[in-house]
């Protein structure tokens, strides 16, 4: 019995084995991206949430989303940019929901008394500054905040930030400038 195959002109016929190998290749590529960009996603999330467990959850969700959309994110630069943006957005959403929950829970409770011993004065000063810095960061416009976080990640150059976000180098520098200036004004 002869087997007839209908082939559309201009299209390559993909057999089951080829399809399987294609899927294997995609899986392997995603593994590479996971190793390369997983830490980046976690750090961006941590920059927003300042909590390792929450940041890990958000990074995990973002990476899973990236896996689902991997068909159109095969290009490494595109993948990084997409992942950073989606992680940042998801982290902001999570942060807002955490804040809302905290607000609900602390409603009606007396303000917490902070005990600061003189021996840990320096530590207290530093932690107080960090808390003020975090608050000031939260008030920054999102686009300034993301650039500031990405530029602060170890080993990240401004060129890389520009590449990840797909914006010109001049824009990265100006956003960084305004972000730092605004933070200094709030903390002065």
């Amino acid at each position: 019995m002869r087997e007839l195959v209908l082939i559309q002109p201009g299209r390559v016929l993909v057999g089951p084995s080829e399809r399987e190998s294609e899927s294997c290749r995609a899986h392997r590529e995603f593994e590479e991206r996971l190793a390369e960009c997983g830490p980046l996603a976690f750090r961006v999330a941590h920059g927003v949430l300042r909590n390792a467990a929450d940041a890990e959850d958000v990074a995990q969700e973002a990476l899973l989303k990236a896996y689902r959309n991997f068909g159109r994110l095969r290009e490494p630069a595109r993948f990084r940019g997409w992942l950073v943006r989606i992680t940042f957005r998801m982290a902001l959403d999570r942060w807002r929901s955490v804040k809302r929950r905290e607000k609900r829970e602390t409603q009606g409770e007396p303000p917490e008394q902070r005990a600061v011993g003189p021996t840990v004065e320096e530590l207290a000063v530093s932690s107080e500054f960090q808390a003020r810095l975090e608050r000031a960061m939260e008030e920054l416009p999102e686009k300034f905040r993301l650039v500031l976080l990405l530029a602060a990640i170890e080993g990240h150059t401004l060129e890389e930030v520009s590449g990840v976000l797909g914006i010109p180098m001049g824009t990265v520098k100006s956003r960084l400038f305004f972000a730092r200036k605004q933070l200094a004004e709030k903390l002065r």
């Binding site: 996971l34 190793a35 997983g38 830490p39 976690f42 750090r43 961006v44 941590h46 920059g47 300042r50 390792a52 940041a55 890990e56 990074a59 995990q60 990476l63 899973l64 896996y67 689902r68 500054f129 960090q130 810095l133 975090e134 960061m137 500031l148 976080l149 602060a152 990640i153 170890e154 520098k173 960084l176 400038f177 305004f178 730092r180 200036k181 933070l183 200094a184 903390l187 002065r188």
Partner: protein
């Protein structure tokens, strides 16, 4: 330029991450102790900001991140495969139902056509013998929604014969066709079926007492002393 102007310039330099100061600003800092003090405070502040932001993002990445992502991916892939299998089953089932429906419909149409082709002969034979022809029905199958065009064409010439027309539901069409085909063999049944009912009302049933002519009563043997 006033001290305020120089301070704006040095803030701008620090905010842009430029450690080198413009010549006039550097000269002013050399002669203005207040601005020099302000500058040192700003250097400290920007340094603290940078180190604070770095501390926020450069947290050690937990080792569990990648395994967790892999596990999630495996979990997410699982239902997709199951869905794929169930979709293929559904597709096969739908195809099977379609094929069966088409076959049944075709057969039923064929049967109707056969009957339509055969019935004139039956009619002639019947009319010649016992006059059943007059009561032989024409099969005009009427479905609940649409009429079959083939059946209409088959019955059209017979309308001229003025034979009685019977409207049959689509689902009973095949059975009725069989009935019409078997009519010549069961003529009496056909006549009985097609004869109009008598106008006379049912006669009343007679009610009378039960009459027994002879009654012989004998005592039971066991009752004798």
């Amino acid at each position: 330029m006033s001290c305020e102007g120089y301070r704006d310039k040095l803030i701008a330099a620090l905010a842009s991450g430029d450690s080198s100061l413009a010549g006039d600003v550097a000269v002013h800092l050399g002669i203005c102790a207040e601005c020099k003090k302000f500058y040192e405070a700003q250097v400290h502040l920007f340094g603290a900001i940078d180190s604070g932001v770095r501390a926020m993002v450069n947290e050690a990445v937990p080792a569990s991140l990648s395994p967790r992502v892999r596990a999630q991916i495996a979990e997410a892939d699982m239902p997709r495969r199951v869905w794929g299998v169930s979709w293929s089953f559904a597709a096969v089932a739908v195809a099977a139902v379609l094929v069966i429906s088409v076959t049944v419909l075709k057969r039923s149409r064929d049967n109707t056509n056969k009957v339509a082709d055969r019935s004139p002969a039956v009619g002639q034979r019947a009319s010649g013998a016992t006059g059943v022809r007059a009561v032989l029905p024409q099969v005009a199958a009427v479905g609940p929604k649409r009429r079959s065009p083939e059946v209409q064409t088959a019955t059209a010439p017979r309308e001229a014969v003025k034979a009685p027309e019977v409207i049959v539901l689509a689902e009973e069409r095949a059975a009725f066709a069989r009935f019409v085909t078997d009519l010549p063999e069961e003529r009496e049944v056909a006549v009985a079926f097609t004869r109009p009912a008598t106008d006379a009302e049912d006669e009343a049933v007679e009610i009378a007492l039960l009459q027994i002519d002879e009654l012989d009563v004998k005592p039971l043997e066991s009752s004798n002393p």
